[in-house]
Amino acid sequence: MDIRDKLNILGDAAKYDVSCSSSGSKRNSPKGGMGCGHSSGICHTWSADGRCISLLKVLFSNACKYDCAYCVNRRSNDIPRATFTPKELINLTLEFYRRNYIEGLFLSSAVIGTPDYTMELLIKVAKELRLIHHFGGYIHLKAIPGASSKLLFEAGLYADRSSVNIEIPSDRQLQYLAPEKNFASIYRPMNFLAERKLEYKADKSKYSPKFLPAGQSTQMIVGASGETDFQILTLSAGFYKQQQMKRVYFSGYVPINADKRLPVITTKPPLLREHRLYQADWLMRFYKFEYNEILDEKNPFLDPELDPKVMWALRHPECFPVDLQTADYEMILRVPGIGVRSAQLIVSGRRFSKIRLQHLKKMGVVLKRAKYFIYDCEVPRELHKLYPEMLRPLLIAGKSMNDQLDLFDTMPTALPAPAPQPKVAPLSVNS
């Protein structure tokens, strides 16, 4: 088997891992070597499904000894198996890096032999890249669940980021779908790495080596087992707080295996749900929302029709309208249609002049949504007297009006169409 076939098989096996970011680590090129870390990360290309490719994301091997129901590489699947040698993989990484195809290496592996043996192989690749080839690019190493702490620590010395995927958001479902795994075996490496990183931070000097400068991330599958969005957000909020995760990724379940424990193989991946979860994640990370503000026990699912920020605004009419001249930055961030950049611009600009609608338009604020929630002398008063129930259809209609209208479709109207004269309804050309 030549290296090209191996790359295709092992790249194909790794593609369901969502994480491909190269951010959070700033490195200068080592002496006599090449490569640097760019702190905001660099996307090098986007694949046909619109996901960013910034790292060479491959498995070291896909000959797994486990049999997890959701995984493409499980023992009982009949697929071609391949294993790199460290030298092949290192050469490939360096050649791709020289041509500026990638930002670095994302190395994961199926468990071959024991977890310790697998982890040792991954570390060997990272170590040779860093010490022999003086490679300064980004390295993301998977922590294999069940590997010893000594090896995990060593991985942290060479990698920029490490990750353990939790995959299924509840312990019972995880044990049901992946009989060899449980929450404890996944949390243990996470906690270990988080604690070591904290220790390193505490007595950091200019000369101490770096330990996981870009922190940890994890990923969970959405839609494979019956969790609610509220459970998922609670879990990810816990990861951000306790394990100091840099990112929690969501992956809409793509049916790969026919298994009676999973949704049927013809189900479509829940892309909209995944998108809404990412929006909620953004609210927690950049908009200073708490997870229990976005959802609660009574409303455990995100609204497919409206984004979570609008939903929060509709549930809290007492906070609006907001006066942009005087409101806190945190409150301006919560206005639907205003993003982080516009909010910063408003706060720094209002010291010098009043912020009017014409300013907002030029800043790129989405007035279509924001106009219902801000106080401005040019905004008609009537808009602020609307109840949330009346506002909701207006916000949804405003969204779909953007699309090209279909000739044979009935017009989406906010108000019910007048019943007695159906023939003069707009766009009923065919009747």
């Binding site: 996307c43 290309t45 490719i53 994301k57």
Partner: protein, 289 residues
């Protein structure tokens, strides 16, 4: 009669023009940048304005820079320079409008106000220039020439080559490489820890010198396997990776990996020694500064 100011398309040239506009109290209706890659008819000409050429003077550019830093700040000067790189047809007039307000002195805080009506459009333009610069850090694709030099061709919308050099110097400090802006006919050539600007009127011999190799094809087939077919989303792809960049990305422009496999070796490869001497000689000849 109002004037159309002709200048040499550099930022210093533009600043000298503004300096002269103030000194001679000129009535300006527009600017025409004399770019080498634009023909006369491409550059927007105003029928009703009289052309008026202004020579670049380093001294007046320096004085105006100092005046901007004093009236506003260093950041504003940097922002104006970034905006200027957009080469937008209206950008000179937008900057001039901002400078007029700034130097009018009616509002002492004007230079610090980021939300004035003249400043917001400049901020958005600068943002899109920086975005393209950030994108380009990832979208430069080097091809390896037989002599070990790496050659990349780019065709950015804005003039951002100078902004990305520092990144690549830090990334490949020991290598020999060249990045060529095909649209503007110039490039940067890096060798022995030093970079030089070169003019490259026609880069076709350079790309023939460094054709796609085995690693390029491996990259292409790797790229194809990474897409999950249940999630294919062409609109999202085009939004993230606009079509105008595809030409210089092997993963989008090479034929399908299954086809490339059959014709494994490209045919129009120059004999390497000849090509090497041509490429190096021409790059060295064109070194400007």
């Amino acid at each position: 009669m109002s004037l159309a100011i002709h200048y040499d398309s550099t930022f210093d040239g533009f600043l000298s023009a503004v300096f002269e506009i103030y000194r001679q109290h000129l009535d300006v209706s527009g600017f025409v940048a004399e770019r080498s890659y634009e023909t006369e008819c491409e550059a927007a000409t105003d029928l009703f304005a009289q052309p008026f050429h202004i020579e670049t003077s380093e001294e007046s550019a320096r004085r105006l820079r100092r005046a901007i830093v004093n009236a506003a700040s260093k950041d504003v000067l940097g922002l104006l320079e970034t905006c200027f790189r957009s080469e937008d047809t209206n950008i000179e007039m937008n900057i001039l409008a901002y400078l007029r307000k700034l130097f009018a002195g009616l509002d002492p805080n004007y230079g610090r106000n980021p939300s004035s009506l003249e400043m917001i459009p400049l901020i958005t333009i600068a943002r899109s220039v920086r975005r393209e610069m950030d994108n380009m850090l990832g979208m430069v694709r080097f091809n390896k020439a037989p002599d070990g030099m790496y050659i990349a061709e780019i065709e950015p919308k804005y003039d951002i080559l100078e902004m990305i050099i520092g990144h690549f110097r830090g990334r490949y400090p020991n290598g020999t490489w060249a990045i060529i802006d095909v649209k503007r006919g110039f490039g940067v050539y890096y060798e022995n820890y030093r970079s030089h600007f070169v003019t490259v009127p026609d880069s076709s011999y350079l790309s023939a010198h460094a054709p796609p190799d085995e690693f390029t094809r491996m990259w292409k087939s790797y790229y194809d396997t990474m897409a999950i077919k249940e999630r294919i989303n062409p609109r999202l792809l085009r939004r993230c990776l606009p079509v105008r960049y595809w030409k210089h990305l092997p993963e989008r422009s090479l034929p399908d990996s299954s086809l490339a496999r059959i014709g494994a070796v490209p045919s129009q490869q120059l004999p390497s020694t000849v090509a090497k001497s041509i490429a190096f000689a021409s790059l060295r000849l064109n070194v400007q500064r």
